[in-house]
Structures are given as C-alpha cells and as structure tokens.
C-alpha cells in the first residue's frame, strides 16, 4: 500500500506533461472497465506503448478501474442489453455481427458493449478533468503542502524514503 501510494505521488509529481498522464488514465479506464482479454485492449496497449503516455499512470489506473468495473458490471449489462436490443440500431448490429473483426471483439456481449460505450463516452471528459486536476494539484496543493509541518514530518518518514528511492518512470 505504501509502495502504491508512493508511486501515485511519484507520477503526479514527475515532470511529465499533465496531458500525458491524464491520457494514460483514460486508456487505463478503457482497458480496466472492459473485459481485459477483449481484442480492443490490444489496440489500447498499442496506443499506450506507441504514444508517449505515462506507463506508471496507465498501470495504476488499470488496477483502480478493474476494481471499479467489478462494481459496475450490473450497470454495464443493463446498458449493453438496452443498446443491443434497441430497434433503430438493429441493422447496424446485424452488419457488424456478420463481420469477423467485430465477432472477435464480442461486441454482442452485453458487458463488452456496455463497458466499452461507457468508457468511450467518459474518455474525453475524464481526460480534461484529470488534466485540470493535475495542473491544480501541482500549482497550489503541492506548493502549499511543502510548507506545512506535516510535510516536514512526512519527509522524515519511511514512506518518504520509499518515495524518493523510486526511479522516475514516464
């Protein structure tokens, strides 16, 4: 736990661009909320590796969103079932159902459909919100924190030693 928290802080306080960190979070949201072994996650993995996003942020986000996904499964099922049984979309789904790429993707599974749509809809808002959050954190909260007595105590603690011993990963 100490190590995980140290990593979160390590990433947030690194010199990486806030956009690169929040983009990693958004990718981890797709990979974490949708079934991990889905083929679309190969694309996510490719993008995470190809684009210069923060890998630590991606891995941490993946762990967090996988946990959240378990809680949200009933919601994903209801959403997916509603979309897949929506009459106006039946033609689209039928065309996709007859295409190998989409059949491999298992788009017709209620959890896959529900979680994918859910994470794609949240992708852009989460990107901007997390980016703004990181910027604010660095500008205000971190500077203020460094001056407090609590920060002095923390800097003298084992946790801080673990934190500082971590190499930067970006």
């Amino acid at each position: 736990m100490l190590y995980l928290m140290a990593r979160i802080l390590n990433v947030l306080n690194s010199e990486q661009d806030p956009s690169q960190i929040s983009l990693a979070f958004c990718f981890s949201m797709i990979a974490g909320l949708t079934p991990l072994m889905s083929p679309h996650n190969l694309i996510v993995l490719f993008l995470v590796l190809f684009l210069r996003v923060n890998l630590t942020a991606f891995l941490i986000g993946l762990a967090i969103f996988s946990g959240i996904a378990y809680l949200l499964d009933p919601l994903f099922h209801i959403t997916g079932l509603a979309l897949l049984s929506a009459e106006p979309l039946e033609g689209l789904w039928t065309r996709m159902y007859n295409m190998p790429a989409f059949r491999i993707e298992r788009f017709n599974n209620t959890i896959v459909m529900g979680s994918l749509v859910f994470s794609l809809i949240l992708f852009v808002p989460v990107f901007f919100l997390s980016r703004a959050g990181i910027v604010k954190y660095r500008a205000r909260f971190l500077a203020w924190m460094n001056k407090t007595k609590l920060a002095q105590v923390i800097k003298a603690s084992t946790f801080y030693k673990v934190y500082t011993s971590l190499p930067f990963r970006g």
């Binding site: 993995l45 490719f46 684009l51 099922h77 079932l81 059949r103 209620t110 959890i111 529900g114």
Partner: protein
Amino acid sequence: MKIMKKWIRWEGILAFIVIAILLAFFWIVLVDGYVRRGIERTIAFLVGAEVNVDDADLTLSPFGFVVTRIQVTSPENPEVNAVEVQRVAFTLDTARLLMRKTVIESMGIEGVALGTPRDRPGRVYRQRAGEVSPESQKRLLWFAVPDIGREDIRRALESANLETLKSIRALNQEIESRNSFWNRRIDELPDQERLREYQDRIAQLREARERDIRAFLLKAGEIRDLYSDITSDLGLLRSSYEQFSEDYRTINTRLSEVVNQPAQDARRIARKYGPSPEGIGNISGLLFGEQLGTWVELSLRWHARISPMLDRGALTEEEQRELRPPRSEGIDVRFREYAPMPDFLIRRAAASVITRGRTLQGTLQNITPDQDILRLPLTFIFSGDNLGSLAEIRLDGTLDHINPLEPRDTVRLGVKGYCIPPMELGPEILPVTLKEGILDTGLEAVLSAGSLSADLSGAAREVSMLVRRGGGGTDLGAALADAFSGITGFSFDARVSGSPEDYGISISSSHDQVFQGMIASLARDLSAKFEAQARARLEQTLKEPLDSLKTRAGSLDKIGEELQERIVSAEALLKDSIF
C-alpha cells in the same frame, strides 16, 4: 517535429510486438491444457463419471487438435473404462473460427475400445446408468406376480362391496318388521282366555244336559252359536298360522342363503382381486418383461442426456432482460446471420471401435446443437462383422431436431448371431436362468414429440434354459423345469408404446403357447389360495352379525308355537260331545 517527438514513442512498436509474441506464445502453451480440461468436463457431465485425457496438442497447420487417449470411467464399474479412445484428430475451419464458429469438417476417432482396465478406479458423479429409479420400478410392476399376503386380503375385503353384509342388514330389518307385526297380530287373535271362556260355556251346557234334557234341548240355538264362534276363531287362527308359516319359511330361506353367502363373496373377491391368467400375464412378460423394461428405461435416460445437446434453448428478449448473468460474463445477444451456420458443428466423425481384435466402423454426421440453423439432422451408422460374441451388427439412426418443437428420433438395430451371456430371468415365482443361446434380433424405435414407439422382434436358437428352483412353492416347479429344459429355441415380439413418462410394454413369444396351460394352472392355484384365505377372513368377520341374525330369527319360533297351541285348543273344543 517537436510535438511528434513529445507524443510518439517509436520504440513502443517494438515493445508491442514483443508483448504480442509473448501473449501468443503463452496462449499456444496454455490452450492445450484448456482444451484437455474442456473435453474432460464435457464428457464427464454426459456420462456422470471421471474422464481422463492424456494430452491435447494444438496443430497450427492445418489448425486443429490431436487428443490422445481419452478414458471414460464406467459408472457401473469404476475400475474399468466404459470407453477408451486412443486418438482423436480434427481440424478447425479457421475462417469460421474468426466468426466464433467451431466447425469441424472431419474428425477421426481411432482405437475405440470398450471395457479396458483403469490404472486407478475413477470417480462416479451420478446415479449409475444401470440402476432403475423407484419411479421406473413402479412401471415394471406389470410383470410382477401378485403377492397374496394378509394385507392384500384386508384391502380386497375393504374394497369389495360385500353382499353378505348387505343381506344381513336387510334380513335383520325384515325379521324386526315381521316380529313386530306378528307380536301385534297375536294379541288381536283369539287367545287362551277366550278359549277358556268357550270351555266354561261348554261345561255349563254339559251340566244343563245332565240336569234336564228338555231344558237342554231348548238351548240348541245357544249351542249352535257357540260352535259357530269357536269355528270362526279356529279359522282365524289357522289362516294366521298359514300366513305366519309362509313368513317364517321366507325368513328361514333367506337366513340359510345369508349363511352360505361368505363363500360366494370369497369367490367373487377372488375373481375380482385375485390372480388370474390375464393378471399374471403371459410367460414372456414374466420372463423378459423386467429386463426389457430396464433396457427401455436405460435408453430413455441416455436419450434425455443427449437431447439437450441437440436443442439450444433460445432466450426471448424478455427472458434476456430478466436474466441475471454471472458477474463479468454478460449475455451474448444473437443477430441474424447472412450465411447462417451453427456455433458448433462436426460435419463428419468417423469412428473405429475395437472389440476383441475386430473393428466396428461407424460414422456420425452433422453433430450440432443448432440443427434448426443447419437444416440437417444428426445421422449415424455403425456396422461390423465377426466381432467375437456378435456375427453381425448394424446400428443406424437419425436424431432430427430441425424443428425443436417436433423432434423425431429414430433408431434401427439389427443383430445376427449374438452369443447370449448367462442371465437370470423372471420374477421370484418363476426364476429361470438363460444359460446360453444365439440371438438374431431387430429393433426399430421412434421417439417423436413426446410419443414413444418401439418394435423388437427376434429369434433365439441353441438355447439352454433351466429353472433355478421350484416355481414359487407351487406344484408347477417340476413341470416348469422339465418344460424349460426341453426348450432349444424361441421367437419373440415386443412392442413399447406410449410416452416416455408413461409407456406400456407388450411381449409375446413362442413360450406363450407352450406354457399357456401351466400359466392357467398357476393362476388357478393362486386364485384358490386367495379365495380360501378370503373366505376364512370373511367368516371370521361375519360370525358375530350372523349369530345375532340367527337369534333374532329364533324369536319368531315362539310366535309359531303360541299359534299352534291355540289352534290345538280350539280344535279340542269342537270335539266336545255337546256338539
């Protein structure tokens, strides 16, 4: 360029390729175990016993699997394998696989052997296929000989509407009514007092005659009146006695009938509830009924296990909404396919079954749970010659579930020269051992939309049969033993009809004619035993009401005696000298 450098990580492509190769490598390594466990679980579910697969190897070109040594534990004897298959090889249609369809164009099943020993006993998960459930046992009771016990007699007496009891009740009422009538009537008739008055008047007239004959002669009118009165009363008494005697005779006749009625009731009960030649059934039913019933049950149980694999239950949209799927699994919603194809299909599976060094060849076609999509039924055919205990066998059939609402499954079996192993036949009352014989038989069975019909016919030759011990304690034992020892062959026909839940079996064979007389005699013996026991029980039950009836009937005797006394007295009066 700066932006590109900031956002693009070229070395990431290499990392992705490495990760993808690693994932593919692990999948190839792990898929063998996954497939092996899948085969073990699926067959174990069907058979109800442990299944072991030595190895399952993925082949990439052509894409398919080779499965080595499948051992299926026999649920009847866990120390042996019901089936052991040396090698199963099949290739998958990769283009269809991308559409998540498992289509096997051709499958080779080699080295199928039956009853091979296992290294260690396998686990049995479900009721053994050979065992008959209590419900099924009930259906086999057609062939049971009635067991005559106290409880059966009691039940028969309770169920029978006993004529004796009804007659006792009716006669009791009649005696009561006659008794009451004659007691009333006798009070109205001239009694002994009145006769004594006549006697006094006669005595006075006699005295008058002795005193003065002339005065006596003047009383001629009085004498005439007295005579007339006595004659009139006597007539009344005589006619009443006649009526009474008639009533008495009627009551007595009915009483003697009631006394004999328990025997008649016992005969009637024995006819109705006791064993009869029809009730016992024919000799073929007794001998083969239970065995045949067990086979029918076994076949139906296997059919019930296989049927779900031929019909995939489709969920309606409403059902899909109501269904709560396991977490993180969801439901796969199906849409119309432009070129419909079952999710799972084995187009052709060729199997070779090794039995005693000989091979039985078979082919199965169109194995799929989606026959409604394929529009073709599952067909199978197996045939072989000189298979040790079998000279020739041919098994073929069609499992047609194209319309899941109206499935029609047919099986035809032809066997020639089957060396029958020793088997015990018949119920306890007719314990027969079929020691050996050679059987030629043919079966055609159809199970169609809840209706079952099967016809089995055949002939056995070079037969040796013996009765294990006396025929159930009857005198028929020796005769049966002689008759069976003389049998060297027989033919038989059996028909099963009805529904899988409620079917009937009729069996006839050449034994029926041979043993017709014996069965009738057996039924007669059992029926006589039943009747004797029923009569004894009836007599015991009816003793008290019958004794009470006799006592009541006896009360009429007093009335008769009284009437007779009055008549005698009146007749004596008329004989007096004054008249």
